[in-house]
């Protein structure tokens, strides 16, 4: 017994040490850094208490139209609201498309395997490259089509807040739907065929099967899918940087980009770190809430 305890310890130790070195220790030193005025160079920053957190909510106020009422709020809150709007819309769209594609390619159509690969490919391209690709599509291709066909709507994409917003949504949906599709395919294929046979004998139509068999049994995958899309939407950085870089006038800036700019462009690493701590807490709170809600919907037959 004693021996197995020792080897247990020895086998767990490498990953535990790695986890401590790359996750736990940086998190702790990051939280500590948020209480200092580190400028990114000097190795002896001063301890400044909570003043970085105060700065986040008192400096850099912006006027925003939120739900048609004009507010003045700190930019960080404004950015948070923008990110939240983005997350809600893109979580719905990505999961809708992912699930629809999964249904499409599990119906035994010809060429299903090919279609699966095609839908998944966007996910293999890096976010930065995708961002620049879509920037070209939105600003050049859209513009030219708009010019030729005389459609005003297609011109000047990414030059306004709303086109920047929808540009980001389209980009992320295009990229992540394929990934979600794979998760939903796995879940749909795990449903025992006996259930469908029984439903067929009872004369159930497609929508009844969907409501009573597929949806409840795929709920587990929805938990995972919602979690991944929600946290990815909140943490989005590469695509935001490459597609709009926050423009126009910083109105399409999301949380991660705002933190990056605070730390590396304003060179206020302390305040950037304070924002990152708030960001960590917010994302953790939101995703844990989502997890506990959708866990309750899971069933097993």
């Amino acid at each position: 017994m004693k021996k197995s305890k020792l080897s247990f310890g020895l086998f767990v130790a490498p990953s535990l040490i790695a986890f401590f070195i790359v996750v736990i220790i940086p998190t702790i030193s990051g939280v500590l850094m948020s209480f200092t005025n580190w400028n990114g160079i000097d190795n002896n920053p001063e301890f400044v208490g909570l003043s970085n957190y105060v700065k986040v909510f008192t400096l850099d106020m912006v006027k925003t139209n939120f739900l048609t009422v004009e507010f003045e709020m700190p930019r960080f809150v404004n950015v948070f609201l923008f990110t939240a709007q983005f997350a809600v819309v893109s979580v719905l769209l990505i999961n809708f498309f992912g699930f629809s594609l999964a249904l499409l390619v599990t119906r035994g159509l010809k060429g299903s395997n090919l279609l699966r690969s095609i839908f998944f490919i966007p996910n293999l391209i890096g976010g930065l490259i995708l961002g620049f690709l879509w920037q070209f599509i939105f600003t050049k291709v859209f513009n030219n089509i708009g010019n030729v066909l005389g459609i005003e709507f297609l011109k000047g994409w990414l030059s306004t807040t709303s086109t920047g917003f929808w540009g980001l949504v389209i980009l992320l949906s295009w990229q992540m739907s394929g990934y979600m599709m794979i998760i939903y395919i796995a879940a749909i294929q795990n449903i025992p065929t006996s259930l469908f046979e029984a439903a067929d004998l009872d004369g159930a139509n497609f929508f009844q099967k969907m409501k009573n068999i597929i949806m409840p049994l795929v709920a587990q995958a929805f938990t995972v899918g919602l979690f991944l899309t929600l946290s990815n939407s909140f943490k989005l950085f590469d695509q935001n940087l490459a597609l709009t870089n926050g423009g126009p006038y910083l109105s399409t800036q999301m949380l991660a980009l705002n933190i990056y700019r605070t730390a590396f462009m304003q060179q206020d690493f302390g305040q950037g770190q304070a924002k990152a701590v708030l960001f960590l807490i917010a994302v953790a709170a939101i995703t844990l809430t989502q997890m506990s809600i959708s866990k309750k919907k899971e069933v097993e037959y």
Partner: protein
């Protein structure tokens, strides 16, 4: 027990091999290795070739170059590099703000041979208490780069453009010619006079604004010390912004300028003769020449007039400096100093600086190496007549130019902010960051 001993064996073997590696490194130390971390992507290949050339005549020195491009990306990367404990021996700093930030790691270069041949005043941005901390890369200038052929065919005399009024008149005349179709046969793509990259906040917030703030602040040191600004020439700045919008292809909807980036302005703007004038500097020469050499060779600069200030000038300054890490080992520092000195003062080095890097040299003694490209020559001509204003944007508060003023100019074009508010809010932000 056997498993445990196998595991222990592996751990020991690993530890030994790590040890062996570090021994090998120590024995190879008689070769001095100089690490360079630099930002100018355009010269990366040529700088590498220069390093090989230097190595061939200086045995015992090895030069390793790493390049990370773009203004703000470089600053971030340099900080990351420093934080990783792997700091380079030679790195780049911008102006007074960088000198202040990096002070603890800057080697005093006042005793270097090149100091005596520096152009007048060119070292002011890196001089603190009479000590010099950086070697200027080169001189760069920007103004309204224009296509001489289009001007000629439109019958406009560019030499008559000496103030805002004459510039506006020329733009209006050219606009009229373009719209009437008089130039359509020869320049089928020509659609507007200007193209302005408001998406690039360095173009708006740093470069354009410099013309208005330079006469007010005087020089970069004064800018770095200024607690507040009056923005005396804000109206002149507005006129420049409005002019570039009014005669652009986005005239009906200035908010579209916020989607115009550098490549739209240069590669698919000026280079393909879609527009006749853009606000850019001599660094575009290589890019334009790659698209159409003939267009590139027919470029020149028009002044950027701020009403009420100096109206016949372009802005000339030093974009970056080479500096040496004072915390590096003595042998590395000596080799690093010698390399920089060789690059800028030896005959082989001078040839590379002018003919391979396409730099306008920051030092005297380059008479045998005249600048060859059209835009560089145009800058030399302006400089010879004293028609230049200094760059002061390196002395703006950190990130003020790009993230405050540049962003507010976007909001102005989008109709979200009035000009008065742009000015007032930018002044307040300046004050806040200088508290």
């Amino acid at each position: 027990m056997k498993r445990v001993s196998t595991l222990l064996f592996f751990v020991l073997a690993l530890a030994l091999s790590v040890n062996a590696n570090s021994n090998k490194e120590a024995s190879a130390k008689d070769v001095v290795e100089v690490n360079i971390f630099q930002f100018k992507v355009e010269i990366a290949a040529e700088l590498d070739a220069a390093a090989r050339l230097y190595e061939s005549t200086h045995p015992g020195v090895k030069i390793v170059i790493e390049t990370v491009g773009g203004g703000d990306d470089y600053g971030a990367a340099l900080r990351a590099k420093n934080a990783s404990g792997n700091m380079a021996d030679i790195y780049n700093i911008g102006g007074p703000q960088d000198v202040k930030d990096w002070m603890t790691m800057l080697e005093d270069l006042s005793d270097q041979p090149w100091v005596s041949s520096a152009m007048d005043g060119i070292l002011s941005g890196v001089t603190v208490d009479n000590k010099i901390y950086g070697l200027p890369f080169n001189m760069e200038g920007y103004g309204f780069a224009y296509n001489k052929r289009i001007f000629k065919d439109a019958g406009i005399d560019a030499s008559k453009i000496v103030d805002f009024k004459s510039l506006e008149a020329a733009a209006a005349a050219l606009d009229q010619k373009i719209k009437s179709g008089a130039l359509a046969d020869k320049y089928p793509l020509l659609e507007a006079v200007f193209e302005y990259a408001a998406k690039e906040t360095w173009v708006t917030g740093l470069h354009t604004s410099n013309l208005a703030l330079s006469p007010e602040l005087g020089n970069v040191i004064a800018a770095a010390d200024a607690k507040t600004i009056d923005f005396k020439y804000a109206d002149g700045l507005k006129k420049l912004l409005d002019l570039q919008a009014k005669y652009s292809s986005s005239a009906d909807k200035p908010s579209l300028l916020n989607a115009v980036d550098y490549s739209t302005q240069v590669d698919t703007g000026l280079a393909i003769e879609r527009v006749a004038i853009i606000q850019q500097g001599n660094w575009i020469y290589g890019g334009v020449s790659a698209v159409d050499k003939e267009v590139a060779d027919n470029l020149g600069f028009l002044p950027m007039p701020i009403v009420g200030a100096k109206e016949d000038s372009i802005a000339v300054g030093v974009p970056m400096h080479w500096s040496i890490n004072s915390k590096a080992e003595a042998a590395d520092k000596a080799a690093a100093k010698d390399f920089l000195n060789w690059l800028y003062t030896s005959e082989a080095g001078k040839d590379i600086v002018v003919n391979k890097f396409f730099f306008i040299p920051p030092l005297k003694g380059y008479d045998a190496y005249p600048v060859k490209d059209a835009l560089g020559q145009s800058i030399m001509a302006f400089a010879a007549q004293g028609k230049t204003v200094p760059w002061v944007f390196m002395g703006y508060p950190t990130d003020w130019g790009m993230s405050t003023l540049g962003v507010k100019i976007q909001a102005y074009y989008a109709g979200e902010l009035t000009w008065d508010k742009v000015v007032a809010e930018s002044k307040t932000e300046w004050e806040l960051s200088r508290k």
